[in-house]
Subunit: 370 residues, 2 copies
């Protein structure tokens, strides 16, 4: 008995996973984290109205969710002043990125991203056999000109850009993104990942004609809305592209609690504004903590602050390890030169107090480590 | 601007969807259904302990779910007396079927199923370019011998069999399935969809060595456990196959509420037993209603009863339309000769009372329709 015959592509894929979860680290240490500041979750939690909606939906979860997600799509359309036909909802941006790559990318097809950008996008491109071309950041920002140039050079089907950026927290103003869209090569699609846009300064989100066939923008309820564990993301795109998702998506994949929770969260914009304020306060506080420890906080348009530890990747990795050993969950960029930094999510005052209390020890330990 | 360049496969796919949801029908009629008995959901709802767990998790949904689903996988492993390494959890059986097909099936690869069996499986096979070979049912049962023979003949990578069967409600005893597994051709994998197994008679689920490389069995929290809108399914398979899912799955796709709800539901086996009893009662009641109306209920090992309307597909479609026009949501098999039937899910006494009150009118209207 030889077992199943995998496709050649499936056989060639590694078993690596994009991220190790904090729960895995907790199981390893045998202790829960004291502060959960590593996955850019919103420690402030979801809107009380969304919590009530999810609680109410729990009792009705015997029903499948509406596979067309009619009500949620209409609400999102009204919110963004587009048509419902321009909205596709999926199992987080992660899920939508997987479907998008599947629609466009086959073995050997070129895809362009930044070296150090979102690993889960790369995971999907590899998963469908695409060839990933990476361009370096320019300083701590993704480089629109370089992405466009490489796409033209390689005939790429897709360009990935996150604005604001993760893991560096930087952003481009709307006019830069608008110019970039105008430069997208014929037959290339720009994936504009706006997961953090709710936390960015005014003027970061460009005005985009929803029927523009050159760009798909992705949004999520995981960050500003504080519902990462609900798994609801959506994309705004031209109608033919939205329709194409219907050919392959898991039609019942976004369940009833997820749809009703997202709907209630969207309706509570005052709560989102409140979170935006708290996030801004936490960014200032995190930056202050960094400076007090002789480190350099980078400017952030997101719900995290990337902190330059002032040396190389080896040193930052030591700082990270010492923080984790002291039960503070944080992460860091994967590639040089950004791996000179650690990345700390915004938290409540008590979370930041724990980080502030622990960072000096962690730094001292990292400096004295062999 | 020409827009994105789809893969040839994506371009060739139709925009059809496996199922139209009841919400779409309600929007069309402008009225809610009086009885929701069409999607084999469990009208009895989830365990109160699961409801409490989901309510509690709503507040914590700012956290991503554990991507390894460690606790849930360990609980499922203990429940089934297998190792956690034999369990993969995903976004419903639908999601797992999509991943499984993706791992094994490329353009032109042969896959075998029964004509009239689960359309979502066919949707996934088409979505990855596989060639679907369909064998007829034998009477109202899927035909293991014919499935095996066709797989041998076509060199199929996958065979799909649901036991108990949907949409006919029939089942094979464990020994038939065990014999079938022993006959699976070298290099073929049997997908044993056991979505309805919790509702089947004792002796329907075969004992399977979890490391047997010839079979993957799929289970769900959507049917007996009453949580269709939560989207949690799982598969039991040999470790190498389980590991292969990690290469392509949406690692954070099963969220926090979903994991905690499923865990609590699994722990409440007394509630599941109670549901099994109520389902059995509802099956008897539905069968009685059918007989009182001169129709023939088929034996059922599931949470629905398939009712032979005693004529052809055209007549059953009329009966279905008349029921829906009277706000009773039911469905029916897609292909002849099974489309002589309608399929009615088990419900609470009030749901069945509405069905009982409506069926005579619907039949009369169907009989007098042109």
């Amino acid at each position: 008995m030889t077992g199943p015959r995998y496709t050649p592509l499936a056989q060639s894929l590694p078993s690596t996973v994009p991220f190790v979860g904090p729960e895995t680290q907790e199981r390893k240490s045998g202790r829960p984290f004291n502060a959960r500041l590593g996955a850019n979750e919103s420690v402030f939690g979801p809107s009380p109205r969304a919590i009530a909606a999810m609680e109410g939906a729990a009792r009705e979860v015997w029903m499948y969710g509406d596979p067309e997600m009619h009500v949620l799509r209409h609400a999102l359309a009204a919110h963004h002043r587009v048509r419902p036909e321009n909205i596709v909802v999926g199992e987080g941006i992660d899920g939508l990125l997987g479907l998008l790559v599947r629609l466009l990318v086959g073995p050997g097809d070129a895809v362009v991203t930044s070296d150090g950008a979102y690993p889960t996008f790369n995971f999907h491109v590899a998963g469908f056999g695409g060839t990933l071309h990476k361009v370096p950041y320019r300083g701590d920002q993704e480089d629109p000109d370089a992405l466009i140039a490489r796409a033209a050079e390689t005939g790429a089907k897709l360009i990935y850009l996150a604005n604001p950026d993760n893991p560096m927290g930087s952003h481009h103003p709307a006019r830069t993104i608008a110019r970039m869209i105008d430069a997208v090569p014929e037959g290339t699609l720009l994936v504009l990942d706006e997961a953090y846009i709710d936390l960015a300064p005014e003027g970061t989100a460009p005005v985009i004609d929803p029927e523009d066939p050159r760009v798909i923008r992705m949004r999520t309820f995981s960050k500003g809305y504080g519902m990462a564990g609900l798994r609801v993301g959506y994309a705004i795109a031209a109608m033919p592209l939205v329709t194409a998702f219907d050919k392959i998506r898991n039609h019942f994949g976004v369940g009833r609690i997820a749809q009703l929770g997202a709907l209630a969260a969207l309706a509570d914009q005052p709560y989102l504004s409140e979170v935006v304020k708290r996030v801004a306060g936490a960014r200032r506080e995190l930056s202050q903590i960094a400076r007090l420890n002789g480190l350099t906080p980078l400017p952030s348009a997101t719900n995290f602050v990337t902190i330059d530890c002032g040396a190389d990747g080896a040193f930052a990795r030591k700082v990270l390890a010492e923080l984790i050993a002291r039960d503070i969950f944080v992460r860091m960029p994967f590639v040089a030169p950004h791996d000179r930094c650690i990345r700390v999510s915004c938290g409540r005052p008590q979370d930041l107090a724990r980080f502030a209390a622990t960072l000096p020890e962690a730094l001292a330990a990292a400096r004295s480590a062999p």
